[in-house]
């Protein structure tokens, strides 16, 4: 690490273009949006401050409260996504013939447009859809299961689709990180007689620690902010059980143009994001080298 005046100048010069763009297109709208959460902004009519009214409204609203609860439930997914993606990365981190195709196959869910995802999984989860067909053919169930019409099952189906979409993305991350593990360390360990398992835990994982931390935080934030899968699969039903906090915000904001409420909802989500992200940073930080 270098310090000093010359360094500081250089640092700011490097940062300048990015910061200017962030200021114009991120900080400004976010700041303005946060202010709007405390007003009765309605696009055309003059705006006036309404204090905490929007917040009171959303906490009184069953859809938002359920949504907040569900967004927290989504966090359960994070370990599965991360472990799954890391596992996939390990599985494809080799030179077996055709491995490139497998990597591309795992990446397909990431590149598939979200509405196609909705149509396809809607078709799978349909009461007379592919999943029930296979389950009944294999005699696992006797009658078709209402995956998306049952309020407990529906949320887990949506979580599964979100996981399905995310695996490939994080797999690519972990793949890149695995490249950085020096081969010599592995070879030395093999010579010392370490088993695959020991090598994995004692060498690979610690080297991957920074990536794991970054990916976990991103995954946590994505889980709290999930909404697209709800939009394309259930639109909040059945019986308002699959709302997520940000889906409520999206619904209010873009479909009903109630922007202050949408902003209040996402403001609340941000508070959670900040809190949980800080927790992750504290407990997952790699020890200083």
């Amino acid at each position: 690490m270098v310090s000093g005046r010359r360094t500081a100048l250089a640092a700011w010069l490097f940062l300048a273009p990015a910061l200017v763009l962030l200021a114009a297109f991120s900080f400004w709208p976010v700041g303005f949006g946060s202010y709007l959460a405390f007003t009765d902004y309605s696009l055309i009519r003059p705006t006036s401050s309404v204090g905490l009214d929007n917040f009171r409204y959303i906490f009184d609203n069953e859809m938002f409260v359920t949504g907040l609860k569900n967004s927290l439930v989504f966090l359960l997914m994070v370990p599965f996504v991360q472990i799954g993606a890391l596992g996939l990365a390990v599985l494809v981190n080799n030179r077996l013939p055709g491995i490139r195709l497998f990597r591309a196959a795992f990446y397909v869910p990431v590149v598939t447009t979200v509405s196609v995802v909705g149509i396809m999984w809607g078709f799978m989860f349909h009461e007379q859809g592919a999943l029930n067909y296979m389950l009944m053919a294999l005699r696992f169930v006797d009658a078709p299961v209402g995956w998306l019409s049952n309020d407990t099952l529906a949320l887990f189906c949506i979580m599964f689709v979100t996981l399905w979409r995310g695996l490939g993305w994080y797999m690519v991350m972990y793949l890149a990180a695995l490249q950085a593990v020096p081969a010599e360390m592995q070879e030395a360990a093999i010579l010392d007689g370490a088993s695959r398992w020991q090598r994995f835990w004692k060498i690979t994982v610690p080297m991957l620690h920074p990536t794991i931390m970054v990916c976990t935080i991103l995954s946590v934030l994505a889980a709290l902010k999930a909404y697209q899968e709800v939009d394309v699969l259930t639109q909040g039903g059945p019986m308002n059980s699959t709302f997520t906090a940000l889906y409520y915000s999206y619904d209010q904001g873009l479909k009903h143009l109630k922007l202050p409420r949408a902003l209040a909802a996402s403001f609340v989500v941000s508070v959670f994001c900040v809190g949980i992200a800080m927790l992750c940073l504290r407990y997952l930080k790699p020890r200083q080298k």
């Binding site: 360094t7 640092a11 910061l19 991120s26 709208p29 949006g33 981190n93 995802v117 941000s270």
Partner: protein, 269 residues
Amino acid sequence: MKTRTVLHYAVLCAIALVCVFPFWWTVVTALSTEGNVFAFPPTFWPKSPSLANFEEAFRVIPFLAFFKNSVLIAALTVFWKLALCSMAAYPLARMHFRGRRLVFGLILATLVLPSEVNFLVNFITVTKLSLVDTYAGVILPNVVTAVAILLLKQAFEEVPQDLIDAARVDGASEWIIFTRIMLPLIAPWLATVGILTAVEAWNEYIWPSIVMSKPDEFPLSVGVLYLRGTFGSSTRVIAAGTVLTILPTLAAFLFTQRYFMRGMDGAVK
């Protein structure tokens, strides 16, 4: 060894099946010209396969124009994103200066703060800057992201300090160190962030549709929406359009893999 390889492949195939299956159904639908699209049990192989639906998709929308727009937007986004985000990540990773923590915190903050109204405010900004209907208007608001900066910062942190110190001792300027030494060293990460950015930019449809006011300038992600006209849309043609949108990204991913898979010699088996 052999059984292990077979098992390995078996697991890979099983997972690949789950990942690819929905896309496969889309391809089957796009290739079919007969039969019932929504039959149950579902068909897993095209009936009377032909490229008719693809031809129809080409006929109904100006496909090549949309494709060109998508390529331009994706290419420009990748270039500027890698350039600007790496420039921002470098000092955060490797330099001490007052305000470093604050800047990093601010950047992280963009990840967690509400962004629902961003599109509206950004459109007003873009209008005021006369960037409506321009590629700059489409790209600039989203070209710097916290995720990219985070990832590249972490990439920079892995570069051994001695290399940098040696260069500094030689009297090289920061810019030379950055471009000649640091960037090449994190090339795989640049490639990774690059391909992820390219895919995201390719699939982005809301923001370009807002900034561009003439439909000829829409990228493919918006253009395929025209296939679903109010008065006449065939699910098969829509499926064909979807396949045509997804294929380029898959192809790009397949062919750029070698750029972020390096050092395969002696890799863990």
